[in-house]
Subunit: 131 residues, 2 copies
DNA sequence: AAATATTTCGTTATATTATAACACTACCTT
DNA sequence: AAGGTAGTGTTATAATATAACGAAATATTT
């Protein structure tokens, strides 16, 4: 047994709170400077919180942006993530499409072996950038 | 008209050559140290070559590894990439599966708008790591 | 409750990845 | 030859991420 009280710690909550309030993916050092008044003063404190938050599924990393977003809690597949990213403003939303998620989860390689996880990043232009 | 002689430059060829000879994704600074005897001595020289090689489609960046691979020249979709990545050794192969590529290219968002590009990274365990 | 193990914390230093800026060169186009 | 574009070499620095270590907090066992 690992952690009877399965709650986030203070630092983890502070970081998650900031990410959830952001409407775009946020960078680690942006998190750091924005929560420094709450006591987090060095990169490891932020990166450690992020690591945990990602582990428990509250946060995802947007690899192509080196940035972090809160899970919209519509993750369909536990080990797969799908994002829609605006090429012009980086606005990012988690895509929940059952067909797509199923297609990806069920996908097998040449040998018929299934994958254990996936990350799909779809690039386009968001509504406000089109206008 | 851009470039009548549509060839790669010396530096670009050196970098591409090294990437093609590698059997795994390679990191920029690993490229740098490996081609330094051929005259490339500073990061910008490598990153500029990479930028061009990516632009012309000879090289892809593996975002989750901050590494680079040569295109296996089986890119089905011009603006979409699909990779299979071993979680344990980082061995990476470009996946060419017409059904999957078509599914992703045709995928539309809630508003029915098509995306202009995508990158899919599939995670699993490679043959040799399973053994 | 006390002892032990585990996890988190704060901190300093450093590693890794990537780009800005600038003067200069090579080549293509007219 | 003149002008434009792309590439080069170089120095410096920005941006992203982790190693290491001892102290503090929390959980588990005795
Ligand atoms: Zn999610
Ligand atoms: Zn946008
Ligand atoms: Zn390719
Ligand atoms: Zn492997």
């Amino acid at each position: 047994m690992k952690n009877k009280k399965n709650e986030l710690t203070k630092n983890q909550k502070i970081v998650l709170d900031f990410i959830q309030k952001s409407n775009k993916p946020v960078k680690a050092y942006s998190i750091l400077s924005n929560v420094s008044k709450k006591g987090l003063k060095a990169p490891p404190q932020v990166y450690r919180a992020l690591e945990k938050l990602i582990e428990v599924g509250e946060v995802h990393k947007i690899e192509s942006l080196n940035s972090f977003v809160a899970c919209n809690s519509k993750c369909i597949e536990p080990n797969g993530t799908i994002f829609s990213i605006c090429k012009s403003c980086d606005q990012t939303t988690e895509v929940s499409n059952a067909d797509l998620a199923k297609f990806l989860s069920d996908f097998k390689d040449m040998n018929g072996t299934q994958f254990s996880g996936f990350n799909l990043e779809l690039f386009g232009t968001c509504k406000s950038c089109k206008a």
